[in-house]
């Protein structure tokens, strides 16, 4: 099948699109009155929190809404032709050929039982009817284009034999096989590590230019959209609330939601004491519980009764003077968009107290069976999860532990908690050794002192026990309160502490939203008056607007209780915002350790440098040095010899004598507690330039 005839005009025109899902009980509108236009070669970013309908728009364009989803109004035109009026055959000719799609989970979107090559070759063979050998040539070409090493071997492998980053490159290659005019990317990098994500985003940008493809880029990450797109459309609860060019929307936002969104993400310049984040109050409305009038009304600072809550759709209004900049707000002209943040409460910086936790040359090695299915034959491998961790943590200090998957941060947490025992070295809690005491042998006080907040809000609470009982159980275990009555009283106080209504005590976890569950998790961790709390990516699975609220809550409780917070994260923006000191880990090694200012300014460890460059920042004033790491993170089962980072380091050739491949670098003290594990000479380190520069206002 050949391409549609050449068409002058927009590639994609979505006009007043409404999509609903139908259940047995009711109609659930997922997208309402959505319009947007994508011009040839243009990249359009679609941003919003989960449940706002951005993925539904993408599936609507593909006309693949499933049995229950239906377009109930408006039209989607592709190159001038209405997709809704096409027959199944015509649609099949367009899918994969003219419009291609890339999804979030690369592993899930590749057929596990089919070789990568076959999956790629299938596309042009269906659409262009070319021969198998031609298709193979094409596949080879495209795989080379997506910068995969050894394309022929890759084409012969099964998806599971590739790493996550390579799989996503294959998915991209598959989408480009027939040189489509429109590429839809649905959160294409969410499942990847930060440095891998940066490389993939870079690739998509380049290829978009090379092939002249228009893009619809769906993401929840404003920074990523800033880096990839020309135009942006912000969605909230099924509606587009603001759309325009990147510059207009980022710098001259004209909708309260967009503004609130930007105020709730940690940009350079925010600080937990001087410029704290402003969380958006309230919760995201469920699709069938939307308020009358403006959907954002109940959470809006500029809400006006009698205007914003009249049961009538708020129309999109053009912003005069800007290029196709539109906003869905009734009070655009009345609001002073440049007014400074009013509600921010400044707090005094707390001074760290005594050292309460000390790690000394902590090592944790695992033995794993070399072969999972037929294993047990004696062959085992040693995984060096942690190598020589040495640091101290003080009272009311926030120490951030930063690293990507496989860096050993979770193993470290397990050893500290006592779920595993250390292989070597020591952990001193109040000068008592606890490294080889498993949790069952620890006394109640120690257990209550060291607690944890988990990453996944949907997994952190037992689904079949009420919220109240779970907290009361923790109190019972920690020996707090004499009777059930006492404990119930204390439990209600804890709910107050995490700002949840007391009525939640009798709810089941499934009746709570992600942010609320995470609050319960925090309440549970503080039940026994914890002095050290390990927070394992506590907000990374939450929506942006909720993240700020949960982070602030955590900070507030920490301030009041003088808790030591070990904040595990891969997100450098949030780390910079809230931590006092930062520890960067890579493949079990601590590569850099210092105060936040020291780590975020040169001299860097080469890995920190790359990490900083990789994190997308949603601020047009920021200029970043462009550093893209080659390849993937090596497996902890099979680490490279010498320096763990040497396989991807861009400074490696500056070290004479191939020292990097032979020896693990020593921990070097730079200034005042700042440590870097690197072979680079002092003068080279000092010559490094800052990665992030904020342009002067």
């Amino acid at each position: 099948m050949s391409k549609l005839a050449e068409y002058e005009g927009p590639i994609l025109e979505i006009d007043k699109l409404s999509i609903s899902f139908f259940t047995r009980l009711r109609e659930i509108p997922a997208v309402m009155d959505f319009s947007c236009v994508v011009q040839p070669g243009e990249a359009m970013g679609l941003v919003g929190e989960s449940g706002c309908g951005k993925s539904t728009v993408a599936l609507g364009v593909m006309q693949d809404l499933g049995v229950n989803g239906h377009i109930v109004g408006g039209s989607i035109k592709f190159k001038g032709r209405d997709l809704g009026e096409m027959s199944a055959d015509e649609l099949r000719g367009i899918r994969g050929n003219e419009i291609a799609m890339i999804y979030q989970e690369p592993m899930a979107s590749l057929n596990p039982a089919m070789k990568v090559g076959r999956q790629l070759m299938e596309v042009p063979m269906i659409h262009e009817g070319i021969s198998e050998s031609d298709a193979y040539q094409r596949a080879l070409e495209v795989v080379t284009d997506v910068k995969l090493p050894d394309p022929e071997r890759i084409l012969k492998s099964y998806p599971h034999q590739l790493s996550g980053g390579q799989q996503q490159r294959i998915v991209i290659a598959m989408a480009l096989m027939s040189k489509p005019s429109l590429l839809i990317l649905d959160e294409p990098t969410t499942a990847l590590d930060v440095t891998v994500e940066a490389a993939v985003v870079d690739l998509v940008k380049d290829l978009g230019k090379k092939y002249g493809t228009s893009m619809l880029f769906i993401s929840h990450n404003l920074g990523l959209v800033l880096e990839t797109c020309d135009r942006i459309c912000v969605m909230y609860s099924g509606e587009a609330v603001e759309t325009g060019s990147i510059k207009d929307v980022f710098d001259k936002m004209q909708h309260p939601y967009t503004q609130a969104l930007f105020r709730s993400i940690p940009l350079p310049g925010t600080d937990k004491n001087a410029h704290p984040l402003v969380a958006i109050p309230g919760n995201f409305p469920l699709p069938h519980e939307r308020p009358p009038g403006c959907n954002f009304g109940p959470r809006c600072d500029y809400f006006r009764e009698g205007l914003c809550d009249i049961d009538q759709r708020v129309p999109m209004a053009d912003i005069p003077g800007d290029d196709r900049h539109r906003s869905r707000c009734l009070r655009i002209d009345e609001i002073d968009w440049n007014a400074p943040v009013a509600a921010s409460i400044k707090t005094a910086k707390t001074e760290p107290g005594d050292v309460i936790l000390k790690m000394d040359k902590l090592k944790k090695y695992y033995e794993v069976a070399a072969n999972a299915l037929f294993g047990g034959g004696g062959a085992t491998k040693v995984v060096k999860a942690n190598e020589e961790l040495t640091f101290e943590a003080r009272e009311s200090e926030t120490l951030a532990i930063v690293g990507e998957s496989g860096c050993g941060k979770s193993t470290f947490a397990k050893v500290l908690m006592g779920l595993e025992t250390a292989t070597e070295g020591q952990i001193l809690l109040d000068n008592k050794n606890i490294e080889s005491t498993p949790i069952q042998k620890r006394d109640t006080k120690t257990v209550a002192d060291v607690q944890m907040v988990f990453q996944n809000p949907f997994d952190t609470l037992n689904p079949s026990m009420t919220v109240g009982r779970q907290i009361m159980r923790a109190l019972e275990v920690f020996g707090i309160g004499k009777t059930d009555g006492d404990r119930r009283k204390r439990m209600l106080e804890l709910l107050d502490l995490v700002k949840l209504p007391r009525a939640f005590a009798d709810r089941m976890p499934r009746q709570l939203s992600g942010g609320q569950k995470q609050r319960v998790g925090i309440a549970r961790a503080f039940a026994g008056g914890a002095r050290i709390v390990v927070a394992d990516e506590p907000v990374s699975a939450l929506d942006v607007s909720v993240q700020a609220a949960v982070t602030d809550l955590l900070m507030e409780i920490q301030r009041e209780n003088k808790t030591t917070l070990l904040f595990i994260s891969h997100d450098l923006s949030i780390v910079r915002y809230l931590s006092d000191r930062v520890m960067v880990m890579y493949l079990g090694h601590v590569v850099e350790l210092g105060t936040t200012d020291q780590v975020f300014a040169p001299p860097y460890h080469p890995y920190t440098e790359a990490l900083l460059s990789a994190v997308p920042i949603a601020d047009t004033r920021v200029e970043k040095q462009h550093i893209v790491l080659e390849g993937d993170i090596p497996s902890a089962m099979n680490p490279p010899p010498g320096c763990p980072f040497q396989t991807r380091c861009r400074w490696k050739d500056q070290v004479p004598g191939g020292l990097c491949e032979k020896e693990v670098p020593p921990q070097r003290s730079m200034a005042d507690g700042h440590q870097i594990k690197c072979h680079l000479a002092q003068d080279i380190l000092e010559r490094m330039e800052p990665v992030i520069k904020v342009a002067a206002e």
Partner: protein, 348 residues
């Protein structure tokens, strides 16, 4: 891989040892021996007569010794009767005390003598196994393809009319044990009361000369019960695969529906049912016993019933060894086959 098979074989031997010992233990409990004596000798034997009958035939010694004899690691018993003749475990093979070997057990290839059939166990089991093998062959030939087709058709479009009808059919067959479906089939197709008389109600003649008329009903009876189960597994697996992300990818690549089913979904969907089919083998043994009894087809299952009903110890041991090996070998094959079907698990 070789090591894996070796380990599994070792495990299999251990399982066989454990299970045969259990069988040995149960069949050699005194009440069972007494029953054996009375059924072989005389129903009205006195306790003393029973005791001497057992003594004459070597049944009265400690259980581990007897088990060792059966295995062939302990010398076979001998007994001198009043006439001066030497009787013994191994003597019965050669009928001559002089030339009889000292050890005669499984290790030496002697599986013992069946007390019911008055024949060596090995030949009884061999004959009957052949007959049952023929039955199983046709059962598999009927059951597996139809179950897979049924499951794939139903799972292809979950929730459709086809799915609901076929699923109801599959559930009904799994809810119908062989002794119910067999009785209903016999009633409908062979009885003079209904009058169809399409098939024969017994399969005795099929032992020598299997025809469609005398062999189809027993095959169908076993196949029906297993079919529903496999079909449901296939359906569940197929339905899951059809909602998988990579099927959506294929759909949005522009692959047509028949190609999605054939090229993308089928192989992935068949991984789970394969294991089920292999594990179905031992399960079918139940059906075989029932159906062979019901249709009077004197195969392996029928032999099992005869041996168990008459406490024919050595035949029972032989039968259990065979069935245990069948079970374990199919498990082994299912594990290995799973690896080859599923590229995600590597053998190395």
């Amino acid at each position: 891989m070789g090591l894996f098979i070796l380990r599994r074989t070792g495990l299999m031997l251990l399982t066989c040892l454990c299970l045969t010992f259990v069988v040995f233990f149960l069949t050699n409990l005194y009440p069972n021996l007494e029953k054996l004596a009375k059924s072989q000798g005389n129903v009205r034997m006195t306790d003393a007569q029973v005791a001497s009958w057992l003594e004459n035939r070597g049944y009265d010694r400690p259980m581990p010794v007897k088990y060792g004899e059966w295995l062939g690691v302990v010398p076979g018993w001998t007994y001198q009767n009043q006439d001066g003749d030497t009787l013994g475990r191994c003597v019965s093979i050669t009928r001559d005390a002089e030339t009889a070997p000292r050890f005669c057990g499984v290790l030496q290839g002697w599986w013992g003598q069946s007390t019911v059939f008055k024949e060596p166990v090995a030949s009884v089991v061999g004959d009957k196994l052949g007959l049952t093998g023929r039955l199983m062959f046709w059962v598999m030939l009927l059951m597996v393809p139809s179950a897979l087709v049924l499951g794939v058709l139903a799972g292809m479009r979950e929730g459709s009319t086809t799915d609901r009808t076929l699923s109801t059919f599959a559930i009904t067959t799994t809810a119908t044990p062989e002794y119910v479906s067999g009785v209903i089939l016999i009633a409908v197709f062979t009885s003079s009361a209904v009058g169809l008389k399409w098939f024969k109600g017994t399969a005795t003649s099929a032992m020598d000369n299997p025809t469609f008329e005398n062999f189809f009903l027993p095959v169908l009876t076993i196949a029906l019960y297993g079919m529903g189960y496999i079909a449901r597994m296939t359906r569940a697996s197929m339905a899951e695969v059809m909602t998988a992300q990579y099927v959506r990818t294929a759909r949005l690549k522009g692959v047509s529906f028949p190609n999605i089913v054939m090229k993308h979904a089928l192989r992935n969907a068949l991984i789970a049912p394969f294991t089920v089919i292999m594990l179905q083998f031992p399960w079918l043994l139940n059906g075989v016993v029932i159906v062979e009894t019901l249709f009077n087809y004197k195969g392996f299952g029928w032999t099992l019933v005869q041996a168990a009903g008459n406490n024919d110890i050595e035949l029972l041991l032989g039968v259990s060894v065979v069935s245990v090996i069948v079970v374990l070998v199919t498990q082994l094959i299912s594990d290995i086959g799973y690896v080859y079907l599923n590229p995600r698990i590597s053998v190395t």
